[in-house]
Symmetry: C2
Subunit: 114 residues, 2 copies
């Protein structure tokens, strides 16, 4: 049983993570879930019930756009890609994250101990 990352941390990272994954090209929900797990070395696992609303929000806000696609096996997937607005948001999210991360690392010893 893996201890889950606490939900506020998921909330803080979901948008930049999804946007960032999409800088690598189109992707879809189920694949993004696996990407997150892979990128974190298995330490972070998202529930699909959390991801789909995130994707809908990002699309509603114009940060990503989606298109339905049928695979050869007959499965339907919704592929998303980053918009220009999404790229701008990602840059701001990354800056905000790093500001907070810097403050945390400072508080965790100010560069001396771990």
């Amino acid at each position: 049983m893996k201890k889950p990352v606490y939900k506020e941390l998921v909330a803080a990272s979901s948008r930049p993570m999804v946007l960032s994954i999409l800088t690598g090209g189109e992707s879809y929900g189920y694949e993004i879930l696996k990407q997150v797990k892979l990128l974190s070395g298995g330490e972070v696992e998202w529930s699909d019930g959390m991801l789909y609303p995130v994707l809908h929000r990002l699309e509603r806000d114009g940060l990503i756009t989606g298109r339905w696609q049928l695979t050869d096996e007959g499965r339907r997937r919704k592929y998303y890609r980053l918009t220009d607005r999404g790229k701008g948001q990602l840059a701001r999210d990354r800056a905000g994250w790093r500001a907070v991360h810097g403050a945390l690392e400072m508080s965790w010893g100010g560069g001396r101990n771990v």
Copy 2:
């Protein structure tokens, strides 16, 4: 006008930040607010309306303990200090944060570009 850090990021960092600040010794709400600003180089500013409920939660959960103190000037302050439970929680929060941070940094270029 400073652009505020978005609220999910505040929610994710508030507990580890407060607990971490208290590893440096007792402190109180108003001072913690200034510490956060200082540690972030002025980039992160918390509202007091957000911090006080955080402190109450942490105390309720036994991660910190508070005591009222009167200063020489007649001001009342509530000083908080870290408990052993709080130290354990801080270690878990730090591990969780770093797991997510690592995944984000991976997604932000995999170690190559910025």
